[in-house]
């Protein structure tokens, strides 16, 4: 499925591994949070980069102690109405200081894209056939924000601010 970063389609370097699929010898893989818990040692024995996929019921705190082991954290949105992932992404960045890639996957609508970015999400996986132009456009339509978001750590001098357009 296409991946969007900074409003553009980009190549996906990662392989998403099903829970029952054999672990390849090489290459970056994404495993579920459950598999990470079950096969931690085997996964850490590999030298390739590792990504973990968090269902919306698992919050950032659950992977916090291991964050330096992950080059990617995938945050699932089972339904676009389920907004837990916004908090998960934000906590990964602000509370746990995670600097790797955060990827949002699942049922996400274009109009959520700017909000995801402001919560610290780096990439979004979208269905095949998605018009990337529409996503790019949503990123730039509203350029004012009323609250500090990820990356804006200076004291709150004003409520309103221009957000840098992507």
């Amino acid at each position: 499925m296409p991946l969007i970063e900074n409003g553009r389609a980009v190549a996906d370097r990662w392989v998403s591994l099903a829970d029952d699929a054999a672990l390849p010898a090489e290459g970056g893989v994404i495993v579920s949070f459950a598999r990470w818990q079950a096969e931690r040692d085997a996964l850490l024995a590999r030298s390739a980069p590792l990504g973990v996929r968090l269902p919306s019921t698992v919050s950032a705190g659950a992977v916090a102690p291991d964050l330096e082991r992950f080059a990617l954290v995938v945050v699932e949105f089972p339904k676009f109405r389920d907004g837990r992932g916004f908090t998960t992404a934000r906590e990964l960045r602000e509370r746990w200081g995670y600097t790797g890639e955060i990827r949002a996957v699942g049922n996400i609508i274009a109009d959520q894209y700017p909000l995801l970015v402001r919560c610290g999400v780096s990439t979004v996986e979208v269905p095949d056939g998605t018009d990337v132009e529409t996503w790019a456009r949503t990123l730039n339509t509203v350029t004012i924000a009323y609250q500090a978001s990820v990356g804006e750590d200076e004291p709150l001098a004003l409520l309103r601010r221009r957000v840098a357009a992507a």
Partner: protein
């Protein structure tokens, strides 16, 4: 139309260039979404949350647009703008709701981007009047005028309006989220304890401003009175604390069942102590420079709400006193609809939108224009919308009261019943709402006619009737001294009566009196309940006190007495 020089305007929040750009961009964003919907690029499923986030519902007759009136404060030019929108794009009237919004019932989807554009021109919007986000922050309709006020609560309401607008993290909460603020100690005119967060602004012994916080109130299917979660929250921590509450809720609130998704259920199920601990934990962690509400910001916002240039006047107007002695109708109106003001010689006036037999909260475009003109003439060009579905001119010179009353009478807006039994709250019910089980408005009309006699209303005193057309409780029936809930029994409209509800700081939920009744029976039953109260009360005793003293039995007995 009288022109009010900006210098003589009561303070309202004026958009600056950033605010303006923001609403214009939102309008263009919605225009693009509507375009995509009409071309079929967006399905209804995908479009619905987008239109809801702009206040657009699909209702019984057409689309319904809910326009935010932040904390219920409007400038006269804004009210004229709303009147114009209602005339041009709707059927020349609107409906004020208990959450200080205005609903238009006959809107076309294809017109909506233009309507939002017109709203943007008058510094208004419909953002977050629906959807599972933080809704319009409501407050006391007498803010900035009430003698018992600690500080103007609109300052904090505006800060929260800004902070919660398209909040990146909290726009897809488990369910909607409503915040109310009051600033007059025990006199709560904002029903803070039936909100998701209720804030009471206080000053401590050192003269510092802070808040008492209640979390987890709400009406609907499972009503809860919010418990106190913090006795003192310093002003500078307001945003950090609200973020902490919202974050705990966003993570832990139930998403498996829409009826259990409000924060009241989370507070109830996690138990108060544990919930408070979760919030305090998060609060302690994020309470830092990033979320500190700088007093400079508070002052900058406060400057928008500066008091208008009141004339120095003696405390009481001789003219008003004389007119009251001469004119009994004026005197009755002053007694019910006029309140003390903090500036000597001034008063706050409630314009009742509850004429006997009328539709509670409805107002025509002509009446909006008339009120806007009267606001320019008598109240520094500013109007308030109340959660009781009335309007208020907050800053009227007592010397002007008689002229104002005459002008209001001429447009049918001088009903003398504010706070009395005729001042009924009613949701739109089955006449407009697709979720309704039964009509609410005809019950309100029948009751307001039954109790139309001003002398009888005065005799009854403080007794609030509140009517909802279904269990969603938009008409606040749970907290009516007498509440009426529409239910559906095999396709017929029935009404369940509750007694003993109260929305003030000592809030309580009413108890169901007995089996549901037909519309006619319910109206008769309410009248008999009121008669029984008049027979049994002790001198000066409010309905709620009589009910507490005697219990339900005598009221139940008379309500169900076959005649």
């Amino acid at each position: 139309m009288t022109y009010v020089h900006p210098r003589n305007h009561a303070g309202i929040y004026h958009y600056d260039e950033l605010d303006r750009q923001f609403v214009r961009e939102r309008v263009e964003q919605f225009r693009f979404q509507v375009e995509r919907r009409l071309k079929g690029e967006l399905s209804e499923d995908e479009f619905k949350p987008l239109r809801l986030m702009n206040g657009l519902y699909l209702q019984l007759h057409a689309y319904m647009l809910r326009i935010a009136i932040p904390y219920g404060t409007l400038a006269s030019h804004q009210l004229r703008g709303l009147s114009e929108i209602a005339r041009r794009y709707d059927k020349g009237y609107g409906h004020f709701t208990t959450r200080q919004n205005l609903q238009l019932n006959w809107i076309k989807l294809e017109d909506t981007p233009d309507i939002l554009g017109k709203l943007a021109e008058i510094d208004m919007h419909a953002i977050q009047t629906s959807g599972n986000c933080v809704r319009n922050v409501t407050t006391d309709q007498f803010a900035g005028a009430a003698p018992d006020e600690v500080v103007d609560p609109r300052v904090y309401a505006e800060i929260l309006r800004q902070w919660t607008t398209i909040h990146p993290e909290f726009t897809f909460l488990p369910r909607k989220f409503k915040i109310a603020i009051s600033a007059s100690g025990e006199a709560d005119r904002a029903a803070v304890r039936v909100h998701d967060i209720g804030l009471v602004v206080k000053k401590n012994a050192e003269g510092e401003t802070g808040f008492e916080v209640y979390v987890g109130g709400g009406l609907g299917r499972t009503p809860f009175i919010a418990p106190k979660t913090r006795g003192w929250l310093p002003e500078e921590d307001l945003i950090a604390y609200i973020e902490a509450v919202l974050r705990v809720y966003n993570q832990a609130g139930r998403r498996d069942n829409a009826f259990k998704a409000r924060i009241k259920i989370l507070v109830h199920e996690t138990k108060l102590d544990k919930f408070i601990a979760l919030v305090e934990d998060e609060f302690a962690r994020i309470r830092g420079p990033k979320f500190r509400l700088d007093s400079a910001i508070v002052e900058a916002i406060r400057s928008h709400f500066a008091p208008p240039p009141f004339e120095e006047l003696p405390p009481a107007s001789d003219l008003a006193v004389r007119r009251r002695a001469d004119d009994a109708a004026f005197d009755a109106w002053v007694r019910t609809n006029v309140r003390d003001h903090k500036a000597p010689g001034h008063a706050s006036v409630t314009i009742s939108l509850k004429p006997a037999g009328g539709v509670p909260g409805d107002i025509s475009s002509e009446q909006m224009d008339a009120v806007a003109d009267l606001a320019d003439r008598h109240s520094f060009g500013e109007i308030r919308v109340t959660h009781e579905q009335n309007l208020v001119l907050a800053h009227v010179k007592q010397d002007d009261l008689y002229a104002l009353w005459q002008a209001l009478s001429a447009v049918g807006l001088a009903t003398a019943n504010a706070g009395l039994i005729g001042d009924i709250i009613a949701c739109p019910g089955l006449d407009y709402c697709s979720l309704a089980n039964a009509r609410s408005i005809p019950i309100a009309q029948a009751l307001s006619e039954r109790f139309a006699d001003p002398a009888k209303q005065a005799e009854i005193g403080d007794l609030k009737i509140k009517i909802s057309g279904c269990i969603n409780a938009c008409g606040h029936h749970h907290v009516g001294a007498i509440g009426i809930l529409g239910v559906d029994k095999k396709g017929e409209e029935f009404y369940q009566i509750t007694v003993g509800g109260n929305a003030e700081l000592d809030a309580s939920i009413g108890d169901i009196l007995g089996p549901a009744l037909t519309a006619d029976e319910a109206v008769d039953a309410v009248e008999r309940i009121v008669d029984r109260y008049l027979e049994r009360r002790q001198p000066g005793e409010r309905f709620l006190a009589t009910l507490a003293r005697l219990g339900q039995a005598p009221f139940k007995e008379t309500a169900y007495a076959a005649d």
